[in-house]
């Protein structure tokens, strides 16, 4: 182990967003790695400790992003893993304003603190494939070099563009720090609880009429693996992280045994706004845009640099279906039985007709 050195695993790692599902699991995983001396989890003071049972080997700090100040320098931090992002506004915790505060201002303040930490040599930032925006002129597959053609309508997409802008600035000011930006596809898995997993768990799933977007998912365990490797190994640059392959939305809904309910696009936007103002449902313009345009990324760079291929989108989705199978409306077995019954019926009718003639 070479704490403060230029290669090998970092000695002291700070993980932000400890109060959220992803942050807690990443911190626990890094703490279990014997190559890392200390894992310090940072979280805002008001969050509840839902994942306390996971966090045995993790030192927990409850501070505001604003009061980080010289804390990172005082802790002699080698690496920072920034995961404290909110993907959808939560009406119980301040809505969109608080979300933007956390995502944009929080990242700014963290990067400012990082800039003043002399021993820091690595920063890993969670981003999203929402960075590519949504436009009808978009290419079908985004590579890391693709520039967004239109600023996304959704709050999360705009926050992601801001965050990546700040990381670019940080890279210029601290070229000695290895900065890794990971653009994650939406997470899915047997245990993950995200906007999309809640969406696919409903028996009737609203979709946009006349659109069947191409989707990619990332299995939650693969996200952990990539974050772990990013913290321990050196992988400077920006990477798309998604399960190879594609599922169309209709295909995903059918595989999950749910029933799609097509809604006209303006109707869905309004319905989403109504649901938000009534305080339930977290489908926002980010999701509506995703369900109109779809989003597929090229993961070649990740596979070459990390030597790791996440499990395919279809496999990740299968894992999710297995965990949520109980509430399927139509199952494969029922369809196969119906196929057999109809075929037998037609045969009987035909043989009856043949005998009579």
């Amino acid at each position: 182990m070479t704490p403060g050195g230029t290669s090998g695993a970092p000695g002291v790692v700070v993980v932000t967003g400890l109060g959220r599902y992803l942050g807690a699991h990443v911190a626990a995983r890094l703490a279990a790695d014997p190559r890392i001396e200390r894992v310090i989890g940072i979280d805002s003071p008001e969050s509840g400790g839902e994942f306390a049972d996971l966090l045995d080997g993790v030192e927990q700090l409850r501070v505001d992003a604003g009061s980080l100040g010289n804390l990172l320098a005082d802790l002699d931090v080698d690496a920072v893993v920034h995961l404290a992002l909110v993907t959808a506004p939560d009406p119980q915790h301040g809505g969109r304003a608080a979300m933007k505060e956390q995502n944009v201002i929080g990242t700014m303040q963290l990067l400012a603190a990082c800039q003043r930490a002399p021993r820091l040599r690595k920063i890993v930032v969670r981003s999203s494939t929402a960075a590519y925006g949504a436009s009808f002129r978009d290419p079908a597959v985004f590579t890391e070099e693709t520039e967004p053609r239109e600023v996304p309508r959704g709050g999360f997409g705009r926050d992601i563009l801001d965050i990546e802008g700040y990381v670019r600035g940080f890279r210029r000011r601290r070229p000695d720090v290895t900065a890794t930006v990971l653009r994650f596809a939406p997470f899915i898995g047997s245990t993950a609880d995200t906007t999309l997993t809640r969406y696919f768990s409903q028996p009737l799933v609203p979709t946009v009429f006349g659109r069947d977007p191409r989707l990619q998912f990332l299995h939650f365990d693969d996200a952990l693996e990539v974050l772990h490797r990013s913290a321990v190994e050196d992988h400077p640059g920006t990477y798309n992280v998604a399960g190879p392959g594609v599922l169309s939305l209709a295909q995903a809904i059918r595989r999950a045994g749910r029933v799609a309910v097509p809604v006209l696009e303006p109707g869905l936007s309004n319905a989403a706004a109504l649901a938000r103002s009534l305080g339930f449902g977290r489908i926002g313009l980010d999701q509506v845009d995703l369900f109109v345009h779809g989003r597929v990324v090229d993961t070649g760079r990740l596979e070459r640099e990390y030597g790791f291929t996440p499990r395919s989108t279809a496999a990740a989705f299968d894992d999710f279906i297995r965990a949520h199978h109980g509430r399927a409306v139509v199952t494969r077995e029922q369809l196969a039985a119906a196929e057999q019954a109809v075929l037998d019926g037609i045969r009987q009718v035909r043989s009856a007709v043949r005998e009579r003639s």
Binding site: F136, R137, D138, P139, A140, V141, T143, T146, V208, F209, G210, R211, D212, R214, G245, V246, L247, S248, A250, Q251, A252, I253, R254, R255, E265, G294, V296, V330, R332, L335, A336, A338, E339, Q340, V342, L343, I346, R347, R350
Partner: protein, 348 residues
């Protein structure tokens, strides 16, 4: 299975002429089986008995096992298996959204009625389309509605010995429209932009492009078979960068299906369309005016223009423009030649 895998499977089957009513090469031997049993032990004098005992070709992935097996029974079973696959999401789409299962079983059969029975299409020069590997098929655009692209894709798939799918590049207007955009993606299309074109060509696909765009399909009947401007030649630079041969194709017949007599520009602006057509039947007859006139179609694929030696000149505007001009001239001359062969636009 993706498109490329399907093509290779088809190519291994050898070059054979497939009758037009049998789109699926895998289905063809099964149909002959009833009359020509492959197993010598099954060769009995009574043909009926042989047909009954014959092992029926069960569609891949069917849940039905005990098929008593005649032609219609297999058709019904195949259709039901297809329906079950669709309803359970048990099919594959590639990263562009191309759905070969749906294209072969639903979209192509629909277009086939048009191109075979309605337009009586004759295809020549199919041997100029590469048997495998990438190729850029460049055609003339016509007909008010871009029906020629669908006809070209289906004709190529049916007539080509490898039954290759043509991956069309479409204007972004196509992908703005709900329903239409999804049909375009599922049949193998994508937005006409260089990243997509180069990605498709890089994976050895056959890409179809109409460089005239809306200038081609939105021209008046008086300007029929006069090639319009070819834009910036983006398709040439995509071919050069990937070293892909360019196959010019001339399509005769598309101009007469909806002869556009006038273009109501204010109405087009109001509806945000590139043009608003007036034909002898549209908009006077309402939906009936949407029925295309039954013109006679001729499609000729010209010899491929190799570009592998020009890979370094992809960013040289002069090379790009010259090559675009060469393609344009080839198509224009072939159009004239085909028109001479077809004196009567609505002939047999």
């Amino acid at each position: 299975m993706n498109g490329a895998g399907r093509e290779h499977a088809g190519a291994e089957g050898g070059r054979f002429d497939v009758p037009l009513d049998a789109p699926d090469p895998a289905a063809e031997p099964a149909r002959r089986n009833g009359h020509r049993p492959a197993d010598p032990a099954a060769a009995e004098p009574a043909p009926d008995a042989a047909a009954e005992r014959d092992e029926p070709a069960r569609p891949a992935g069917s849940a039905v096992t005990d098929v008593p097996g005649d032609h219609w029974d297999r058709k019904v079973a195949g259709g039901l298996a297809f329906l079950r696959r669709r309803l359970s999401g048990d099919y594959e789409v590639d990263e562009f959204g191309f759905d070969p299962d749906l294209t072969e079983r639903v979209l192509h059969p629909l277009v086939r009625v048009l191109y075979r029975d309605w337009f009586r299409t004759e295809v020549t020069g199919i041997e100029n389309v590469p048997a495998d590997g990438a190729g850029l098929v460049v055609g003339n655009h016509s007909g008010t509605v871009a029906l020629d692209a669908l006809i070209l894709a289906t004709a190529l798939h049916d007539r080509h010995p490898g039954h290759r799918f043509l991956r069309l590049l479409g204007a972004d207007l196509v992908f703005r429209m709900p329903v239409v955009s999804e049909l375009a993606r599922k049949s193998g299309g994508t937005v006409a932009c260089n990243p997509d074109a180069e990605r498709l060509l890089g994976t050895g696909e056959l890409v179809g492009v109409f460089p005239e765009g809306f200038k081609g399909i939105g021209k008046l009947y008086a300007d029929r078979y006069k090639l319009q401007r070819f834009g910036r030649g983006g398709f040439v630079s995509a071919a050069l960068r990937t070293g892909t041969p360019i196959v010019p194709v001339a399509i005769v017949g598309g101009e007469e299906i909806y002869p556009m007599l006038a273009d109501i520009k204010p109405l087009a602006r109001l509806l945000k369309l590139p043009y608003f057509p007036v034909t002898p039947t549209f908009p006077w007859l309402g939906p009936l005016g949407m029925v295309p006139l039954p013109s006679k179609w001729l499609i000729e694929f010209c010899p491929p223009i190799p570009t592998a030696h020009l890979t370094d000149s992809a960013d040289d505007p002069l090379v790009v423009f010259n090559l675009a001009d060469q393609v344009r001239e080839t198509i224009q001359q072939t159009l004239h030649k085909l028109l001479e062969r077809r004196p009567d636009p609505f002939g047999p």
